[in-house]
């Protein structure tokens, strides 16, 4: 990542490179407009939070960005590639990774194996090479294992590498999911409510970890989060959506002072 973005992301963002751009993206479920002509830009090396009341369409935005749901309108440009119509695996290969609001681990696999699946888009050997155990497949397997272990160490879960993922408590499952996403070597990481269900200490650790990912690994981070303390402390910029529409955008301070945001969150402490 550029040093500039790390040091002064809040002021230097305009000169930083655009990583991801959503142009008037639109999604309709039956009669319900879940995402309504929403546009936003994500700059390299920033932490952009997407907030909004429950049901505002935040997760739907992530599903559109990662190709899980098809767009009904608009377009998404990611590192110079148009993502419209691409399947999720192709988008992952381009460098987009995500976690899920309600954790989607592979419960039938160990913690390490879960993370090793994250190496899939960065490795190549297939059925034939696996069946015959050709030397370069075994070398690649070694790389997959080492890199995945490193990712587990980064989130502090290396000790539990051989545990079944489904047996872990929720907070640790979130960390495994994060390690798995990191194993794909993402340029852009989408975190869907990573702090929900975590204790205060765990949230503090998560806060530090997210900053490290941005500062040390140069990963651009998109964050959906309800924990306003975390969001306002960590985000460089915030996009606020309600009923699928963008109602405000700016620094945490600007957004907190915005009247439409206050109205949308009426009664909640921002």
């Amino acid at each position: 990542m550029s040093v500039q973005a790390a040091v002064a992301p809040r002021t230097a963002q305009k000169s930083a490179q655009v990583v991801l751009e959503a142009r008037r993206i639109h999604k309709v479920f039956g009669g319900l407009v879940a995402v309504n002509n929403l546009s936003f830009t994500v700059y390299e090396g920033e932490i952009l939070a997407i907030i909004g009341p429950n049901g505002a369409g935040k997760t739907t935005v992530f599903n559109l960005l990662t190709g899980v749901l098809p767009l009904d309108g608009g377009e998404i440009i990611f590192r110079g590639h148009r993502l419209n119509g691409l399947p999720p695996h192709a988008i992952a290969r381009l460098g987009m990774a995500r976690t899920f609001q309600n954790v989607h681990l592979f419960d039938n696999m160990t913690v390490l194996e879960n993370v090793m699946v994250g190496r899939h888009p960065r490795s190549r050997y297939g059925f034939l090479e696996a069946a015959l155990r050709v030397p370069w497949a075994r070398r690649e397997e070694q790389e997959i294992r080492e890199h995945s272990t490193a990712c587990l160490e980064l989130v502090g879960m290396a000790d539990l590498a051989d545990e079944l993922a489904g047996n872990l408590p929720f907070g640790q499952q979130r960390l495994v999911e994060l390690a798995r996403a990191l194993a794909t070597e993402p340029a852009c990481l989408l975190l869907d409510e990573p702090a929900s269900g975590l204790s205060h200490q765990e949230v503090a650790a998560l806060d530090a970890l997210i900053r490290r990912l941005r500062d040390e690994q140069g990963i651009t981070i998109l964050l959906i989060e309800h924990d306003m303390h975390l969001v306002m402390g960590i985000a460089d910029r915030v996009v606020v959506i309600n009923y699928g529409e963008k109602i405000a955008e700016g620094t945490p301070e600007e957004v907190q002072a915005d009247e439409r945001v206050i109205a949308a969150y009426l009664g909640e402490d921002l």
């Binding site: 399947p87 695996h89 194996e113 397997e141």
Partner: protein
């Protein structure tokens, strides 16, 4: 320790027990191969040897189905059809067109694989258990085609005049020779499958089973992998079918009925859905059970036939799925583990409950 030995290169201090723990699959595979090699010394009766040959066929089928169902979570109710395609194509090419056996085996595998691929392409575009539906239909189509196209297939009388399998100048005639050829092929399939499940590909398949959504967003080409594993399992089935045709020298539609498709699913369920080793156990135990039922049922129930056998299989499947959804071997293993753990924790229990007291 062997790790030290490997570095120092001292073969004299090689420790077998240590090697086995590091290469469990390879050790088990070699043990199985050795056991199969000497098994005919004790099993000398031709009827019993023929059962072993059939266990071999069923293992090839079950291993493929385990990859598809157990690992990837895609249910096929039509594996008897892929088995039948292998048998009929091999039979037709050798009996009617005088092909030599091995090119016919390869051609059958390619064509059967292609059939599975063509079934899979549209099916995997849909979400849900459409593969089960489509393969269910495949049984009906296959049976209809085989029974009505009598000019090609011999109809319900079967396709006759299939030559013996030969390897070079050596023509296989005895039960023993088919036993060895069948199990050599089975072991090859087993080795390939074990390598696949313990690899990037195996992890991708299990990931698809657990969560297609997460697998896709982690970069796994979900549809392509489903398609490939379906094709691979169909190729296994075709290889089994080819050997089956040479072994019996006649193929009839009844060998590839829908009932047999269900029997294969039972074998996978008994063996444990995601276990290649379990697949052998499932194939062996269900084949033996089927054979036993065929002998016993007519004595118990007057006029009982294949239907009674199916009834028993249906019952077994229902019971296993209710009480041990991971399959019989995995279910039993889990229960044993739980019991052992309970016993281990038992001494500490009094202490814990004392702590919990106010």
């Amino acid at each position: 320790m062997s790790t030290v030995n490997r570095k120092t290169g001292l073969p004299g201090r090689f420790q077998l027990a240590d090697w086995i723990t590091h290469h469990q699959n390879l050790a088990a595979f070699l043990a199985l191969a050795a056991m199969l090699a000497i098994l005919p010394l004790w099993v000398t009766n031709n009827y019993q040897r023929s059962i072993l040959v059939f266990i071999g066929f069923n293992t090839m089928l079950t291993v493929g189905l385990s990859l598809l169902m157990g690992y990837t979570g895609q249910i096929s109710l039509g594996h008897a059809v892929f088995f039948g395609c292998g048998a009929y194509i091999t039979g037709l090419l050798t009996a009617r067109y005088n092909w030599s056996p091995w090119p016919a085996i390869v051609a059958a595998a390619v064509l059967t694989g292609l059939l599975a691929y063509l079934v899979g392409v549209p099916i995997f575009k849909l979400r849900g258990h459409y593969l089960a539906m489509a393969t269910l239909g495949l049984n009906i189509i296959f049976e209809t085609v085989v029974v009505t196209e009598t000019g090609w297939t011999g109809g319900s009388n079967g396709l006759l005049g299939i030559p013996r399998l030969s390897i070079g100048p050596w023509v296989l005639k005895s039960e023993l020779s088919y036993y060895y050829v069948t199990w050599a092929m089975t072991l090859a399939i087993l080795a390939v499958s074990l390598n696949i499940v313990n690899s990037r590909v195996g992890r991708a398949l299990r990931a698809i089973h657990a969560s297609e959504l997460a697998a896709g967003t982690m970069g796994v080409e979900v549809d392509a992998f489903k398609l490939k594993v379906l094709t691979l399992s169909a190729v296994y089935a075709s290889l089994a079918g080819s050997l089956f045709a040479f072994y019996l020298q006649i193929v009839t539609p009844s060998s590839f009925s829908f009932i047999f498709s269900i029997e294969l699913v039972v074998m996978v369920a008994v063996g444990g859905l995601s276990s290649i080793w379990g697949a052998i156990f499932g194939a062996a135990s269900v084949t033996l059970l089927g054979e036993a039922l065929r002998n016993i049922m007519p004595r118990l129930v007057r006029g009982a036939s294949a239907e009674a056998e199916l009834l028993a299989f249906g019952l077994i499947l229902v019971i296993i799925m209710i009480f041990m959804p991971d399959g019989l071997t995995a279910g039993v293993a889990k229960r044993l583990r739980a019991r052992r753990q309970a016993r281990r924790e038992a001494p500490g229990r009094t202490e814990q409950s004392a702590d919990a007291m106010p």
